[in-house]
Symmetry: C2
């Protein structure tokens, strides 16, 4: 029987090991590497890389081949957190229960460490590893997908909208669009790139993206709920900060209880999108469920 906890633990261990290996390679600035390592080893859930590997599993049981791509996604995610936490942005001192990068180091180092993680995400696809040209073509598609999701038409646009809208009321439609860009785009790319690595068909790719769209929004709604109802000792983040900043969130717009229901409905739809997949997609199904039930 499939046990999610075991799957998550196993994948996390693979991902953490691979990330350490990549960061252990020689560096020209120990301080930058220390800051990169500090933030990426701060105990994240590794949701995006695990989704990537689980998507590769769903298509062809090929999660191992997606490991480099998985790490690249975590590099991008961590860079975005470091930059979002900066004084000029969200000005957060705590992240996952420890000092944010610019507090632990300094602002210049944090900006550069974020830049370095973003750049590293595109460096891990070694051309030397390309024994066959088909893999090169797949890697190129992966890179394009990741960059599009992370860039000015995706995550960065989401962060810009998020900053500009602080203290200003948003409609549910606007909020949804901000979430789709800020969180959804990279979650979709995580699933899509895993599928690409495993040589998914066009139809499989579309179904998996559909799955990812649903869990992406469910994830963000759950984050909103945790900001209201979560235990700071578990989440590692201060509670109630969204309200203090007068940020529009799902609970603020439709209440906590309706937010829960919306997230649960999204998870149901996500799992529904996987109906053409066999038991190799069980990890994706279980992750969808986990996304709304998590406590941090």
């Amino acid at each position: 029987m499939f046990v999610l906890e075991t799957y998550l633990k196993e994948k996390r261990s693979l991902i953490d090991h691979e990330i350490s290996q990549i960061l252990l390679e020689s560096t020209a600035s120990p301080r930058i590497t220390a800051a990169m390592s500090y933030s990426i080893m701060a105990g994240g859930k590794r949701l995006r890389p695990i989704l990537c590997m689980a998507a590769a599993d769903a298509v062809a049981g090929k999660s191992d081949e997606a490991l480099q791509t998985a790490c690249a996604l975590e590099f991008i995610h961590t860079y975005s957190l470091i930059h979002d936490d900066l004084p000029a942005m969200d000005n957060d001192d705590l992240r996952r229960g420890q000092k944010t990068c610019h507090v632990a180091f300094d602002e210049a180092t944090a900006i550069l460490a974020g830049d370095a993680l973003l750049t590293l995400a595109f460096q891990v696809f070694s051309p030397a590893a390309v024994k066959n040209k088909n893999r090169a073509a797949r890697y190129l598609q992966v890179i394009h997908t990741m960059a599009t999701a992370a860039g000015h038409k995706g995550m960065i646009a989401g962060q810009m909208r998020d900053i500009s809208s602080e203290g200003r009321a948003l409609s549910l439609k606007d909020l949804k669009e901000t979430y789709r860009l800020k969180t959804g785009a990279l979650i979709e790319a995580s699933v899509a790139t895993g599928a690409i690595i495993a040589s998914a068909t066009r139809s499989q790719l579309q179904q998996l993206i559909r799955y990812a769209e649903h869990i992406g929004l469910a994830f963000q709604i759950t984050d909103d709920i945790l900001n209201v109802k979560g235990d700071p000792a578990v989440t590692g983040k201060a509670s109630g900060t969204d309200e203090i900043r007068r940020k529009t969130t799902y609970p603020a717009l439709i209440g906590v209880s309706k937010s829960y229901k919306t997230a649960e409905k999204l998870v149901k739809n996500a799992i529904e999108s996987l109906k053409a997949f066999d038991e190799k997609s069980d990890p994706l199904r279980a992750i969808a469920d986990y996304i709304v039930k998590r406590k941090k």
Copy 2:
């Protein structure tokens, strides 16, 4: 007869047109796109993209095929300028005679616009454009080369060293290493990626990298000299700022006159590295010369 001015003008026009086209594509945040466009259209020399195209010309007269790569290099260069200018870094208000990005917009927008340009550099290699797998493999090598040069083992390490060493005396050896990382790495990558696109042989690639190493350092020494002797009305930058910041520079360490001579010697060596190339490498020769003779 080869006329550098015509060559530069023609390439700049191609590059500027391509960059505009890329930025004109739909965006999810007009503000981010405006900030990206503001900084990249601020009248840069386009040295890196032109070097890339000239290297492709030197190998096979194929500069047109290097146009996307050329733009990607300019995106990376511009992102690095935007982030270097930030208050937490060099805190510069003026760049190329106009307000820096964080002054014209704000700090958060400048950080995000820089992030977006860096990301865009890896997005321009469209997998849809890959009609043949050989091209995909070349693109992958280009991406790896660019990311390595720009990342924590290259340009970012250089900027970190540069910041940490302000107000502290450096040896000539340390200064050279900082310059190699901060400026040299991306200039080398510009030449190398152009060569890769044009399917250079291993030996051609090595000779061109040798050329780039020399002009990279010559370029930085000339920058140092312009900071002392340049005309702010021409350079678009304040003069004497290195001395005010007590930065170690070539003129500070060995004097202006010996710095000139060193730069000229480097250019001579750079041109010497091209001896196996025919007249298709005339642009590279002329650019080497231009690098030390420029007034801005």
